[in-house]
Symmetry: C2
Subunit: 568 residues, 2 copies
């Protein structure tokens, strides 16, 4: 495929025609009186709109996921945007639901995250910076709880909270490794109780997941109240309600529960809402956004973080349980470079260019990595949902390489299409859109990996075997004991989230393709009692990123006209 | 005065008729295309509006200050709101400029800060919570710089920054004493460089002052670049530009530089913008808000924090120098309770009710505290500005007590009026409005306390003697040496801010009235090279508040209809 002389993302974004946001809402059937504008091109949607739209027909519901990505990412958001535009080109009304990007990493390795080329979410500066302040609200609510906990310890500790048991850290939306581990409460007697603690990035906050899973303001308030901050000396959980913080937290988060409406380069409506971490949390956008958007058109596309073993597994087993919505199809974004990487013969590093030899024409290298694609198709099928393989085309790809992916996908009985949405916008995603329409029209019956009344151990084992293809799970003695304790504490009915690397279907980030003959080690388990799940930790999970030697922030600035440069 | 059966602030706020914000802007002459709505009743104003309005006549410029307040505050904001409404009742077009309240203290002792009764700023929930996210932007920009500094130390410290010299702490808008003193960078080698540091409240950030003093986006960018984060081992300053953080900080703050438009209970326009700390920083709302609002009507009222020795002194000597605007009058808010407190015979404690004996009729007790009022009138006169004493009437006041204040003020040649704006709205501030109109009509010539080419020592001494009435200044050896060093480093031309208690005109918070025969001790001096001033620290300055035993947060919640309760 020849390379096209494509203008920069920034140039395309600035040249794009944006509709007034009320017009985008109107086209989606959202009444104007439910909009709270934030500038001219972003609006929050009052949750009363969910009731307004309740009698309208439900859209087909499609989750956008991926095969196991390289550390560079495979353009899942961009493909989701392109596909939404492609469905519009076919004459369908499509709405897209995305997670809000975290601001911290924007100043680290990553730069902005708003799609690419002619498949972007706009306005991209707002999207990548504060948007409507939801992340800031999560930070404020989370840290108010932390302050209330330490204040309780300071003023006599009536609840007999064991300071060493306090698991509620603080959060900031900044990549700051120096805050990972701190000692706080130093100084004089009036400066609090000294103890070890630390900061996570805001996207890793349980408050973020709660915001993403709540179905109403009341549900939000109740989930916040159930957050467990630590345990008494006698081992009883101490909650946010116990330290009287949850009401004020709900007040801080009141507006943050309203989804944000933006648009694509081709004016397709996009709901951007919540950004829970993809490895320790659910990695999906909000339940309320999907509950609203399901009544706004013919197709609702919702993106889930990382590969189908990660965000999509939680989409199916956690988010869909809470929302009550049933997916019709799953799009697996695949790229030539990711399949080549799964051959195990190349080394791809975040923040570095691809090894040049990966750009040579090599259908053989693509085929050598095809097991990963096959496994993800199986994962999607395990949920009873129709798989569609989206080949996200890069200028450096060759037709012979696309042909291999197509052949593998078809051999598995999956729909498949090449999409050139980055270069061509919605027109380039026309084939993909047709494949998605066909998949949604097929007979399918959605099912979970496990039932809620299975034990926590059984749920973790079911995900490990059915989704990851592991031979079983090895629980550490502590993890096994804690799982029993969680059943006693009443968390046994929760679904599970397994915190593992996203760079392999297995728990070992160095294993490419579809690893076989391995067991999932579970070192530690924790309960997110407010969000309502138990998570099992397999491997090293970093919840506060650091900045690289040359952070993106160093090149971001205002030009002489006050315009942002270097963000993309 | 009989007590009136006044509805609660919340009931009055909910019953108030709010104009669409575009209508409020139109009445003030601000073109609609310069508005960026944030919900229906708040808008940011693009700074291009400053140019749009430049040819319109300038309003009379009135600073709202106070006598030395009790720890409960004396209703300065409320009086400012009432006066703006009173001027409108007289047929003048008035605009009000206020600082944004800090969210942290709202959850501590304080509760909301939006005026009271029929003199409130609306919508009060937005005002007291996130508003348009400006404080959050300051937090994010400040902490990005902190992360960049620690990242520089982590990745080899090319600039040879001495870690022990790093004075740039982190900030959060939460009352959290446990963060005052921390050790960060603990853990493994990849978790940063261990060092002592801590957190201040966001309002205490130099970034907040910079936002308040910048006259344009370019000026903001340059001031951010000049922030000094620490010194090299050789003693040279290391700036935000040196660690390449200032461009990204400016990008984060781009929208925060735009003033926020709200309205009063009677639909008078209010610009709410920036909230720098009153004791270590300037304690004034933004320069850009005043530069814009000076062309929006007949009168611009701008509030300065604490008493005239504090916020107003910095308003005159720092803010007016930067803005180029010249004040016409100063309103000194006085209350019966504050004058009684200055008698030295009562003990008023923050967060506690007044001692009941303060509510007995006692013109004698008021007279016993009158020296404080006399001294504040002298302070205002020292700047060549006409003083107006505003008696903010409380239901518990007696006419005999108001008569004493009136007598004292008139004996000093000041204008004076009783104002019942809390109970009566603008109509109750009619007399006060007439007094302000009269004061602005008088001959006056504004002057500073010192010239910029005086030495830093001379400037500090001038404020201490002329404004505080001290006999002189005692510099510690370190402070004296640092002042010399600052002259060498090029900070000699900066104005000065003296960080001292606001509870006395002196530096001793226990001294009531108008203390005489004392000298100002200066323990330490610091340069805020980005904001552009040197500050001298006299006494203990707390830059991170703590929560009380029973914080306001514990009573704040959502009711069954999702409405906020307990915030006021």
């Amino acid at each position: 495929m020849p390379t096209s002389p494509l203008p920069s993302d920034l140039a395309i974004a600035r040249a794009a025609h944006l509709e007034p946001i009320a017009e985008v809402a109107r086209a989606a059937g959202i009444p104007e009186q439910r909009l709270e504008p934030y500038g001219r091109h972003v609006a929050k949607i009052d949750l009363a709109a969910v009731r307004d739209l309740a009698d309208r027909p439900s859209a087909k519901y499609v989750v956008i996921t991926a095969i196991t990505p390289t550390p560079l990412g495979e353009g899942k958001t961009t493909t989701a945007v392109g596909l939404a535009q492609g469905l519009s080109v076919l004459g369908h009304r499509a709405t897209l639901a995305l997670r809000q990007p975290s601001m911290g990493p924007t100043f680290g390795i990553k730069g902005g995250a708003a799609g690419a080329g002619y498949s972007q979410v706009l306005p991209m500066e707002q999207l990548n910076l504060h948007l409507t302040g939801d992340f800031h609200a999560v930070t404020a609510a989370h840290n108010l709880l932390a302050a209330m906990v330490d204040n309780h310890l300071h003023h006599g500790n009536e609840l007999e909270l064991d300071p060493r048991s306090v698991a509620w850290r603080r959060v900031l939306d900044v990549n700051d490794r120096a805050l990972r581990n701190i000692v706080e409460g130093l100084g004089a007697r009036i400066d609090g109780v000294p103890r070890q603690s630390g900061f996570d990035i805001t996207a890793a906050s349980e408050v973020m997941v709660i915001l993403g899973l709540s179905t109403s303001l009341r549900d939000l308030r109740e989930r916040l109240g159930r957050i467990v901050v630590g345990f008494t000396y006698a081992g009883r959980p101490v909650t946010a309600d116990d330290v009287k913080a949850a009401g004020a937290m709900a007040v801080i988060l009141k507006d943050a529960l309203k989804p944000n409406l933006l648009q694509t380069t081709e004016n397709t409506p996009v709901l951007v809402h919540t950004g829970p971490f993809g490895n320790i949390a659910t990695g999906n956008s909000s339940v309320v956004a999907d509950q609203l958007a399901i009544h706004t058109g013919d197709y609702l596309l919702t993106e889930a973080g990382f590969g189908s073993d990660m965000g999509a597994e939680r989409f199916f087993n956690v988010k869909c349980r809470v929302s009550g919505l049933r997916p019709d199809a799953a799009v697996l974004v695949a790229t030539v470079r990711s399949l080549k990487a799964h051959s195990g013969n190349y080394r791809v590093v975040a923040g570095k260019p691809l090894p040049p030899e990966m750009l040579h024409e090599s259908p053989r290298a693509v085929r050598a990595g095809a097991d990963n694609l096959r496994r993800h198709i199986e994962i999607v099928r395990s949920f009873g949902v129709s798989p569609v393989v989206a080949i996200n085309a890069f200028p450096s790809d060759f037709d012979s390489e696309h042909a291999v992916i197509r052949e593998v996908a078809e051999a598995e009985g999956a729909h498949v299409a090449v999409s050139t949405h980055v270069v061509d916008g919605g027109k380039g995603a026309r084939d993909l859109a047709e494949a998605v329409v066909a998949a949604c029209g097929e007979q399918h019956e959605f099912r979970y990996t496990y039932e809620l009344d299975d034990t926590l151990r059984e749920k973790i084992e079911a995900v490990a075997r059915t989704v990851y293809g592991a031979d079983g799970v090895d629980f550490s003695p502590t993890a096994a004991k804690d799982l029993e304790r969680f059943e006693v504490l009443g968390y046994g009915g929760f679904p599970v989230v397994i915190a593992k690397t996203h760079l392999s279907i297995s728990s070992d980030p160095t294993l490419r393709g579809a690893p076989k003959g391995w067991r999932l080690p579970v070192r530690e388990v924790r309960a997110a009692a407010g969000a309502g799940y138990v998570y099992a930790i397999s491997g090293e999970m970093r919840t506060m990123p650091g900045l690289p030697r040359n952070p993106a922030a160093a090149s971001i600035d205002l030009d002489d006209d006050g315009e942002v440069v270097g963000l993309f």
